[in-house]
């Protein structure tokens, strides 16, 4: 099955997109199909995300793009020493994006971008071997970004805007590796909060030295999502321990890291365009996931992520007035250091293949489709910072993951 699919992908010269940590790089069907390149590509309203400066290079008066993807994440875990063999039962998540740009005049454009660049949805079987680290997590952040772009000369433009992020988290794990109540139910905790607001910004510049070459740079700031007073629900707590594990609230910080993108695209002719992007994601901000509870308990979970890079390549081929084909590839470096491989985001370096096409169904409407396949090599890894009664109990084994992301979108122009 796997081999056959690989063959099909290779034949179609496809490329792919997703990203390390809990970054979900699915911010546009057209860009995704081209290896999620875009900091130097002016294609449709998606540019409001990839590089706001590019909005004023759009030719249309009004451009609107909407897209959504279905993320199928498969996680397999095994441990040779103890014979564990577990597969996550992840629900399908559906990140989406909506962009609109409007040309006020030749120089000035306004836009709006709504997108979901971070998230994680992982569900392991209840009480699996690593349930003291995570049983399930649903993490999501929606970004709202009003955007402005100004063309300084015919060759240079700038753009940017503030970002309002609305985050939500729901996370469940067992309190330790073994304790149950008298009915055999494991002691667990769920933390839950939604609508956590936070602010950031994006800014970019685009440079077109020639008709064919475009260069771009974009920076999106870190946004620190600070959960305060979220709901903490302790489950299956014995009567005599109710005081110690009282339900209440929790506080936690989750930094959504800054990202710097630089790239270039080259239009060979009316049909062919290639793009190269480099992303630097400043994951260093994510040093720990620490949760403090209103009952006085604290959960200390070192993460110690390191800054990571993504190398992207994409191409576009306009076959006819009706069809445009795209493909791409990117290599996504994991921000996770050795010994910090926690099963809630079990991501090692990945090779990503993407493909897609647009169908111009009318002068104004186009359907955009994309597909991403994320390939992770099998990895032996462990999380070595879980402590129980003052002793460290590493948890690890072999992980093998993959992700399939079909996506569909629509572009409207006026």
């Amino acid at each position: 099955m796997r081999t056959r699919l690989m063959t099909i992908l290779a034949l179609m010269a496809l490329g792919i997109t997703y990203a390390g940590g809990f970054r979900v790089a699915l911010q546009g069907q057209r860009a995704l199909a081209m290896g999620h390149t875009g900091v130097a590509v002016v294609n449709n309203a998606e540019v409001a995300f990839f590089n706001p400066a590019g909005m004023s290079f759009l030719e249309e008066k009004l451009s609107v793009s909407f897209g959504a993807s279905a993320v199928f994440t498969n996680i397999a875990f095994q441990n040779e020493e103890f014979g564990y063999n577990t597969r996550a039962e992840n629900p399908t998540s559906t990140p989406f994006n909506l962009y609109g740009t409007y040309k006020i005049n030749e120089k000035l454009s306004l836009g709006i971008a709504v997108y979901t660049p971070f998230g994680s949805q992982v569900t392991y079987p209840k009480n699996w071997e690593g349930s003291h680290l995570i049983n399930d997590i649903a993490l999501r952040a929606i970004f709202f970004q009003p955007t402005i772009s100004y063309k300084i000369t015919d060759k240079i433009s700038i753009g940017g805007g503030p970002i309002y992020a609305s985050g939500s988290v729901n996370f469940t794990r067992n309190l330790d590796r073994s304790t149950t109540d008298v009915n055999g139910e494991r002691l667990a905790v769920t933390i839950d909060q939604s609508g956590i607001g936070a602010w950031g910004y994006t800014a970019g510049m685009m440079f077109k030295p020639t008709e064919k070459l475009t260069m771009g740079i974009n920076y999106r700031s870190e946004i620190n999502v600070e959960a305060r007073g979220g709901n903490a629900d302790f489950q299956n707590i014995p009567e005599n321990l109710q005081g110690q594990f009282a339900d209440g609230t929790f506080d936690a910080d989750l930094p959504l890291p800054a990202e710097l993108s630089v790239g270039a695209s080259y239009r060979f002719n009316d049909q062919w365009l290639v793009a190269l992007d480099y992303n630097r994601v400043f994951w260093n901000a994510y040093d720990a996931l620490n949760v403090s509870f209103s009952n006085g308990l604290e959960s200390i979970n070192p993460r110690n992520y390191q800054d990571s890079s993504v190398y992207r390549f994409g191409f576009q081929y306009i076959a006819s007035e009706l069809f445009t084909f795209r493909g791409g590839y990117y290599f996504d470096e994991s921000p996770v250091q050795e010994g910090y491989f926690a099963p809630e985001t079990p991501r090692n370096n990945s090779n990503n293949f993407t493909a897609g096409l647009s169908v111009n169904i009318s002068d104004r409407f186009a359907i955009d489709a994309s597909f991403l396949y994320v390939h992770f090599n099998e990895i032996d890894a462990s999380y070595d910072f879980y402590q129980e009664n003052g002793q460290t109990a590493p948890f690890g084994g072999t992980y093998k993951n993959n992700v399939f992301v079909p996506g569909l979108g629509i572009t409207y122009k006026l």
């Binding site: 397999a76 441990n79 103890f82 014979g83 399908t92 590796r177 073994s178 149950t180």
Partner: protein
């Protein structure tokens, strides 16, 4: 419509493209049973093999019995299904014709001062013994069984419960006259484990040595439950068991018997917990000087020469010190110890079930000093003479620990002599039949001395908090049983050239808080 069909087909495709490992652990051939055949594993034993914990057999504990843990790992290396005579609930305890005959499990509660206190879980047992189960079961362990019970016909006869039969075996026996061994051997095991013999000394130990050491008596039918089994009886029955289990060439593991006097049931209440302040120590010392004096006088009155009387009575002039002092225990009165008590010695043990309130408040283990006794002591200190009745008051105040609440040196000796003989037998049987001997005796000594370390944790033999022993102080916790299972797997891997995955004790619970 057709589009929908395509979409759902695509979705099915993506979710079925599961990642595959280069060497999946669940693929046949990844693990290996080596020179043994694990397809039909049968376990023989007593409560320790049944999963019994917290003073009861109950569902969750059975799931963590070491044979069941073993079987779950065997299954990855070619092992077959493993069945157990499961209880009906997590309450524990048994009903016989609707009447409770075994208590519910112990759970940890706390008294009004916040001190931990094991209590029986509230509730009525729902496991009715007369609802006999459809066997046979791979786990043939019978809580309470001694070596000779495995070959005793009628041990599963419901009519004999309370006398010659065992309710746990009655639940699963194939007939009222069958034996445990017959039902086990009839399953044609390809692999077996035997851990029997604990109860042959343990019931004696738990009774505080009130039973009889039956060494020399070859007729187990004449034994009472609290007696020590004769080592020859043990040898004969275990030989018979091993012969029957190996009849078809099955391999197996034999587990030997640890020092039962070092389980928390005997090590939790210290033998020197008589903690005194300076004043109390002085008062007690004076009291026993008075006892020595009264005894001297009494012996002289009975015609014992004065020097001899003084010498005999001097054993009662016990000096007590500020801080911890050893308890007094009752011993049979004799010519050399006419009052029948003495102070405990270093190696002697107190049972966990002793009335600790009486120890703390009623002078149990020392002296029950009343005001009347104090008055008599005052008279003596003032140099006045006392009446015989007053002397009697003093002697009657001595409140030594009863035989049933302590293990003295002689009793400990009897237990260990028999146990050593059993272990010699078990070693011999293992060697003669090419079976694995799991030296649990040595392993347990090590755990007593320095605990047992596993990934991210440790168990010790400390009662309650140590993690090895359940709340009855006798039986292991699920985590303790997991350690046993892991040790057995290591032994099989080593001896039989097998590769069976191990057990992580950290994933198994210890005690349960209410």
């Amino acid at each position: 419509m057709r589009k929908l069909l395509y979409i759902s087909a695509a979705l099915a495709l993506f979710s079925s493209c599961e990642p595959e490992f280069n060497e999946p652990v669940d693929e046949v051939g990844f693990y290996d049973q080596g020179e043994v055949d694990l397809t039909n594993y049968v376990a023989l034993g007593n409560s320790l093999t049944s999963g019994y914990a917290d003073g009861a057999l109950y569902l969750d504990a059975q799931q963590s019995s070491y044979p069941n843990i073993l079987a779950s790992k065997f299954a990855l290396a070619g092992g077959g299904d493993f069945t157990q005579p499961l209880m009906n609930d997590n309450i524990g305890g048994l009903l016989l014709n609707g009447t409770p005959i075994a208590a519910t499990r112990l759970v940890l509660n706390f008294d009004q001062n916040g001190n931990p206190l094991p209590v029986n879980l509230e509730g009525t047992p729902t496991t009715e013994v007369t609802n006999t189960l459809e066997g046979p079961f791979n786990n043939m362990a019978v809580p309470g069984a001694k070596s000779y019970h495995l070959v005793a016909p009628g041990y599963g006869n419901i009519a004999g419960i309370g006398t010659s039969a065992n309710p746990y075996f009655a639940r699963m026996a194939s007939s009222s006259e069958t034996t445990v061994l017959a039902d086990a051997a009839a399953q044609n095991p390809t692999f077996f484990s035997i851990w029997i013999g604990n109860n042959d000394v343990l019931t004696y130990a738990i009774s505080g040595g009130t039973g009889v050491d039956q060494t020399g008596n070859l007729n187990p039918a004449s034994y009472a439950n609290n007696d020590i089994t004769d080592p020859n009886v043990f040898a004969a029955t275990t030989s018979q068991v091993v012969s029957a289990m190996t009849a078809n060439g099955a391999k197996g593991v034999v587990i030997n018997i640890p020092d039962v006097t070092k389980i928390p049931f005997f090590t939790t209440v210290p033998n020197n917990a008589l903690v005194l302040n300076a004043e109390q120590a002085q008062q007690l010392t004076l009291f026993f000087q008075a006892v020595a004096g009264i005894t001297t006088q009494g012996l002289i009155d009975q015609g014992v020469p004065a020097a001899q009387a003084q010498q005999i009575a001097s054993q009662y002039a016990i000096t007590f010190n500020e801080g911890p002092n050893r308890w007094l225990i009752d011993t049979p009165a004799s010519q050399t110890n006419p009052l029948g008590f003495r102070q405990m010695t270093e190696e002697e043990r107190i049972v966990l079930t002793i009335d600790q309130t009486a120890l703390r408040t009623a002078g149990y283990g020392s002296v029950a000093i009343s005001n009347e006794v104090l008055q008599v002591l005052g008279k003596l200190q003032a140099g006045a003479t006392i009446t015989e009745a007053e002397a009697g008051l003093v002697l009657a105040a001595i409140n030594g620990i009863d035989d049933k609440d302590a293990l003295d040196n002689e009793e400990i000796n009897a237990i260990n002599t028999a146990r050593s003989a059993y272990n010699t037998t078990l070693s011999g049987l293992a060697q003669q039949n090419d079976l694995i001997l799991l030296d649990f005796e040595s392993l347990y000594e090590e755990i007593v001395l320095s605990g047992y370390q596993y990934n991210g944790g440790e168990i010790t033999t400390t009662f309650g908090t140590g993690g090895a022993f359940s709340l009855d102080g006798i039986h292991l916790t699920p985590r303790g049983y997991a350690v046993v299972a892991d040790e057995i797997i290591r032994a099989i891997n080593e001896s039989y050239d097998a590769n069976i995955p191990g057990v992580d004790p950290g994933n198994y619970p210890t005690i349960f808080v209410q």
